[in-house]
C-alpha cells in the first residue's frame, strides 16, 4: 500500500534505506491549478523526483486554428490562458499584423497597452490569491479577488465580457473606449495602490510566509535561461528579460517603467517581483491614460484577411511570461497554414521537476503556485 517495492528483496548488507512512495498529485488535486498531474517519488516527505503529466485538457487549439479563418482565431486565443485573455489577443493580433505589415493607429496601441496591463493586474491578483491559498493564507485570496473583480468590471464595460474578452481585432480594436472609462481606470489605479499595501501587510513580512517561500525552488539565472523560464520566474533569478522592454510592442516603447529583478531566484523573490509588477503596471496604465491620443482605433485592413505567404514569430509579455505566436500563411487560403503558440506556462512548468527536487511535498504546492501556470494554456 504505502511501499512500492517492485524490486527483489534487498541484498543483505545493504545500508538502511526506506522505500520510496509514489504519490500521484492530481489530476484532481486542490492546488494543481487545474488538471495537472505530478507524479512524485517521495522519500518520506522529501521529493526525489517529480514528473509532470499534462494534456488532460488538450483541445487541439493549434489544429483547430488551422481550420478557422484569421479573424476567428482571436476568440480561440481567449481560451488558452483564460485568466489573461487580453494579452493572448494582443500577441496574436500583433503577430498577424506583423505578417501583413499593417499599421495600427496610435490610440489603438495605447488602449491595447491599457488592456494588457489591466490584464496583468487581474492575472497577478489571481496568482497571488491562489498562491497564498496554497500556502494556507486564505484571506489574501478573497482580498485579491476583490480587486480582480474591479478589473473584470472594467473589462466588462469595455467589451462586454468578463473572462474571454475577444477584445482586439487584426489592425486595431473593435471598439473605442466607453465614455469615462479612462477616468474609472485611473480611479482603479488609485484604489489598487492602497490595496497592494494590504497584501503586503498580510504576507511580505509574515514569518510563516517568508519561511515557506524563502530559499524554496532556488534557480540560478543561467539555469533559468537554459530551462526556458520566462516572465517573473526568469526575472526572479536576476535575468533582465522582458519582452515589453526588449522588443517593445503595442505602445510600451512610449512609457517609462522598470523591470523588477530578483537576486536569489527563490519563491520569495518571485513573489516580490510580481508584487512590484503590480506597481509597474499601474504606472504604465497611468501614463497611457494620461497620454491617450485621439484618433481612430482601427487601422486600414482589407475586408478579407489573407496575409501574404510567409511565416513569422511574434512575442509579447503575458502575465506568465513570453507568449509567442508563430503563424504561417500559405498566401492562398483565409486560414493560417500553421498556428503555433509558445505557451509561457508550458515552458515554465517544465522547470517544476527541477525546482521540486529535494524539497518537501508541501513545497511542491508552493512551487506550482510560484510558476503561475494555467492549464488551459499548457495543454491548449
Amino acid at each position: 500500500m504505502m511501499t512500492d517495492a517492485t524490486e527483489a528483496p534487498r541484498r543483505i548488507g545493504q545500508a538502511f534505506d526506506t522505500d520510496e512512495l509514489v504519490l500521484n498529485m492530481g489530476p484532481q488535486h486542490p492546488s494543481t491549478h487545474g488538471v495537472l498531474r505530478v507524479v512524485l517519488r517521495l522519500d518520506g516527505e522529501r521529493v526525489v523526483d517529480a514528473d509532470c503529466v499534462i494534456g488532460y485538457i488538450h483541445r487541439g487549439v493549434e489544429k483547430l486554428c488551422e481550420n478557422r479563418d484569421w479573424t476567428q482565431i482571436v476568440l480561440l486565443t481567449d481560451r488558452m490562458d483564460y485568466v489573461a485573455a487580453a494579452t493572448s489577443n494582443l500577441g496574436y493580433v500583433e503577430a498577424v499584423e506583423k505578417l501583413m505589415q499593417v499599421e495600427v493607429p496610435r490610440r489603438a496601441r495605447y488602449i491595447r497597452t491599457i488592456l494588457a496591463e489591466l490584464q496583468r493586474i487581474a492575472s497577478h491578483c489571481l496568482w497571488l490569491g491562489t498562491h497564498a491559498m496554497d500556502i494556507g493564507a486564505m484571506t489574501v485570496l478573497l482580498y485579491s479577488f476583490r480587486e480582480r473583480e474591479h478589473v473584470l468590471d472594467l473589462f466588462e464595460e469595455y467589451c462586454g465580457a468578463r473572462l474571454t474578452y475577444n477584445s482586439m481585432r487584426i489592425g486595431g480594436l473593435p471598439l473605442d473606449i466607453p465614455t469615462g472609462w479612462d477616468k474609472r481606470v485611473s480611479a482603479f489605479c488609485d484604489v489598487m495602490e492602497t490595496k497592494l499595501d494590504e497584501y503586503e501587510e498580510l504576507l511580505t513580512n509574515n514569518r510563516i510566509w517568508v519561511g515557506r517561500t524563502r530559499d524554496i525552488g532556488v534557480i540560478s539565472g543561467e539555469e533559468a535561461t537554459a530551462l526556458g523560464l520566462c516572465g517573473p520566474p526568469l526575472r526572479g533569478s536576476g535575468v533582465s528579460r522582458d519582452v515589453r522592454k526588449d522588443e517593445p510592442n503595442a505602445a510600451y516603447d512610449e512609457f517609462e517603467f522598470d523591470i523588477p529583478l530578483g537576486t536569489r531566484g527563490d519563491t520569495y523573490d518571485r513573489y516580490l517581483i510580481r508584487l512590484e509588477e503590480f506597481k509597474q503596471s499601474i504606472r504604465i496604465i497611468r501614463q497611457a491614460v494620461e497620454g491617450l491620443p485621439e484618433g481612430p482605433v482601427m487601422g486600414k485592413v482589407p475586408r478579407l484577411i489573407k496575409p501574404p505567404a510567409g511565416e513569422t514569430y511574434h512575442a509579447v509579455e503575458s502575465p506568465k511570461g513570453e507568449i509567442g505566436f508563430f503563424v504561417v500563411s500559405d498566401g492562398r487560403s483565409t486560414n493560417p497554414y500553421r498556428f503555433r503558440v509558445r505557451p509561457p506556462s508550458f515552458c515554465n512548468l517544465q522547470a517544476l521537476s527541477r525546482l521540486c527536487k529535494g524539497h518537501l511535498v508541501a513545497d511542491v504546492v508552493a512551487l506550482i503556485g510560484t510558476i503561475d501556470i494555467v492549464l488551459g494554456e499548457v495543454d491548449r
Binding site: 517495492a5 528483496p9 534487498r10 543483505i12 548488507g13 545493504q14 538502511f16 534505506d17 526506506t18
Partner: protein, 102 residues
C-alpha cells in the same frame, strides 16, 4: 463470589499473563509478540496494584511506575530494532530473524 478478594485479581492477572504467553508462543509477527509482552507486563501490574490496595502499601504502585518506564524503554528500542530489521529484510516474521548479524 460477591466479595472481591485479591485472589480474584490474582486469577485475572494469571489469566491475562497466560494470554500473553500464548501470544508470544503462537504468533510469528514480532510486533504482535511485543504486544503480548505488554499484556504480560499489564498482568503483573494488575497484581501489583491489587496487592498494593490490599496491603495499603504504595510500593506496589511504585513498581508499576517502574514497569511502565521499562515498558516504554523496551517499546522504543524493540520497535527501533524491528524497523531496522524490516528495512533490510522486508519481514517481521520472527522465524526469519535467525541471523545474529547481517
Amino acid at each position: 463470589m460477591l466479595e472481591i478478594t485479591p485472589l480474584h485479581y490474582s486469577v485475572l492477572s494469571a489469566a491475562l499473563f497466560m494470554i500473553g504467553v500464548i501470544g508470544v508462543l503462537v504468533r510469528r509477527n514480532i510486533i504482535i509478540i511485543f504486544m503480548s509482552i505488554e499484556l504480560i507486563l499489564n498482568a503483573v501490574n494488575i497484581n501489583l496494584v491489587a496487592l498494593s490496595d490490599q496491603l495499603q502499601n504504595l510500593i506496589g504502585q511504585v513498581f508499576v511506575v517502574f514497569v511502565i518506564a521499562v515498558a516504554a524503554a523496551e517499546a522504543a528500542v524493540g520497535l527501533g530494532i524491528i524497523i531496522a530489521f524490516y528495512r533490510n529484510k522486508e519481514t517481521v516474521n520472527i522465524d526469519e530473524m535467525s541471523l545474529m548479524r547481517w
